[in-house]
Amino acid sequence: MLRRDPLADLEPLIRRVYAYVAYRMGDGPDAEDVTSETFERALRYRKSYDPRKGEPVAWLLGIAKRCIDGGWPDRDLAAEVADSADSTDLEDETVRKLTVARAVATLDARDRELIALRYGSDLTARQIAEVLGARTNAIEVALHRALGRLRDVLGEEEDVEPVRKRGASR
């Protein structure tokens, strides 16, 4: 039987893995390192990829998750995002992004992971369930709760002006 190469279409895979890693660890060189490490491992173990178990992106994100959980030290993501948001002359869009990023960074690891997989890598609830080894409906419920907590955090934020501006303009 012919095996599909999981790394055939690289660019979108790199983007999705990087987005996931950046949601978990923050943007920057560390995220690049983890993404590179993920693809190195994927190359080494590309024979172990089984298309029956899921899409290549889900397989790669599983590797990225193990890379982060196993090797990279936890960073104070909330503090880093807050530091970068201090600048006053940022454009509205950037501020809005930073506000959301800061709110995500305050969530616990599990919620952050779910949000990273769902909105960073664009996985469906079913694909997330495959990556995390859980049931699809459990993931849907967990995602719903994570979004609720994020809304709460955003509501508590003092600096929600940019988001408010955008909401009002719609």
């Binding site: 990087y18 943007d27 690049e32 990023a101």
Partner: protein, 136 residues
Amino acid sequence: MRCWRKRHEGLDLEAELRAGRSEPAPEFINRLEARVRHNGRSRAGSLRVAFVGALTAVMLIALASVGGVGYASSAARDAAVSVKRVVAPKDVITVLKRGSALDQYGKPKAKKVKKAKKGKGKKGVTKARKRPPFTG
């Protein structure tokens, strides 16, 4: 909190989260893509060479165990001789003409066949040599 929710009913948090995802730098994408492609190719190439080498060794061992190597070499030798015979036939003929009998007695003369006389006996039939009578 409720106020915030009321104020931002129009805000699509999911869209914000999607829009807020980080994009890798194009140089990083290019660099990583090139590295993955290069490493993948070289690994596949070395695997292919190793596979061919292993297959050759297995075939040689299998052939040697049933005397196939000697058979193959003799077949190759025969083939070489055949080719030589076709390419340089003169040499081959010379080799065939030589012999101890030829050296000792020289080239034999061609036998003359007597023609049957007209009107006597059957046409074209030569007389059989007379043998000494059978004496029991």
